[in-house]
């Protein structure tokens, strides 16, 4: 990421098995540094899977870390649908 720019919001489209609880997944993401809030909504229900939309907001989100957590929770990331970045405030 460019120096002085931080990721403030990311929206991920993902596919998870029914067995994985969205509460567990959202808490696991939220516990990470630089993240203020996580919301997950179920978009579509299938026989074995659910399509979910994960919205993460924070001061300085590490997208790679989020990807790792999501994969650890047996969930496949299909696409990154929204990104919001902002210049970091410099203190002199």
């Amino acid at each position: 990421m460019a120096q002085g720019v931080s990721l403030k919001k990311v929206v991920i489209d993902a596919l998870k098995p029914h067995e994985i609880d969205i509460l567990d997944l959202s808490k696991a993401i939220c516990l990470h540094n630089g993240i203020n809030s996580v919301s997950i909504s179920v978009i579509e229900m299938d026989v074995k899977t659910e399509t979910i939309k994960i919205t993460v907001t924070g001061d300085d989100i590490d997208l790679n870390e989020i990807k790792k957590i999501v994969e650890r929770y047996s969930t496949a990331i299909r696409s990154i649908d929204e990104i919001s970045v902002a210049k970091q405030n410099h203190r002199h």
Partner: protein, 186 residues
């Protein structure tokens, strides 16, 4: 979390009841067989009971290990296909592996445990604290009592009539004991 993901709670309950039931009926068979054939050496009866319990334990452990592993590997592969991603090292894969071990342990330990408890009065006879006849009767009573307890547990799980489930289990034990008498005399 692993327990919820793998839904091992329900399967464990089923395995526990099924195998404890198997173990108790087998022990009733051993007790009745010893009684009918007039074995007067308690060491032989204890040896037979312990060996039968051990065999049931090993059989339960290995049987559940292999079948659960096959079933759960298949489940993980099905999910991998559905989400088009490998699940190696993920929480779901770990939860399923955990479930295999838990299921195998319960499947192995439940018949072993109830059988050993059932034949425990025979040790009183071994140390000459009780006559062989009474210790056999006490073992039989203990096995049937354990069947009743397992029935109560089943009834509680089903949220139904506890006594009804308890009596069904007890009746099956008594039936095995009575029919063993007839079969043994043939």
């Amino acid at each position: 979390m692993y327990t919820e993901i793998s839904r091992i709670g329900e399967i464990s309950r089923r395995y526990f009841v099924m195998n404890a039931f198997d173990g108790l009926l087998t022990i009733i068979g051993v007790i009745m067989g010893s009684f009918i054939s007039g074995v007067d050496d308690v060491k032989i009866i204890i040896g037979t009971g312990v060996a039968a319990s051990w065999a049931m334990g090993v059989s339960g452990f290995i049987g559940a290990l292999i079948t659960e592993q096959a079933e759960r590997e298949r489940k993980v592969k099905d999910i991998e296909k559905a989400i088009l991603t490998e699940l190696d090292g993920s929480i779901l894969e770990k939860a399923e592996k955990f479930a295999v071990i838990v299921a195998a342990l319960i499947d192995g330990l439940s018949p072993l445990l109830v059988s050993v408890i059932s034949i425990s009065p025979l040790f009183l006879s071994l140390y000459s604290l009780l006559s062989l006849y009474y210790s056999l009767a006490l073992s039989l009573f203990l096995a049937i009592f354990l069947l009743f307890i397992i029935g109560l547990y089943l009834g509680k799980t089903a949220g139904g009539n506890l006594i009804y489930y308890g009596l069904i289990m007890t009746t099956s034990g008594i039936l095995v004991a009575i029919t063993s008498l007839f079969i043994g005399k043939v």
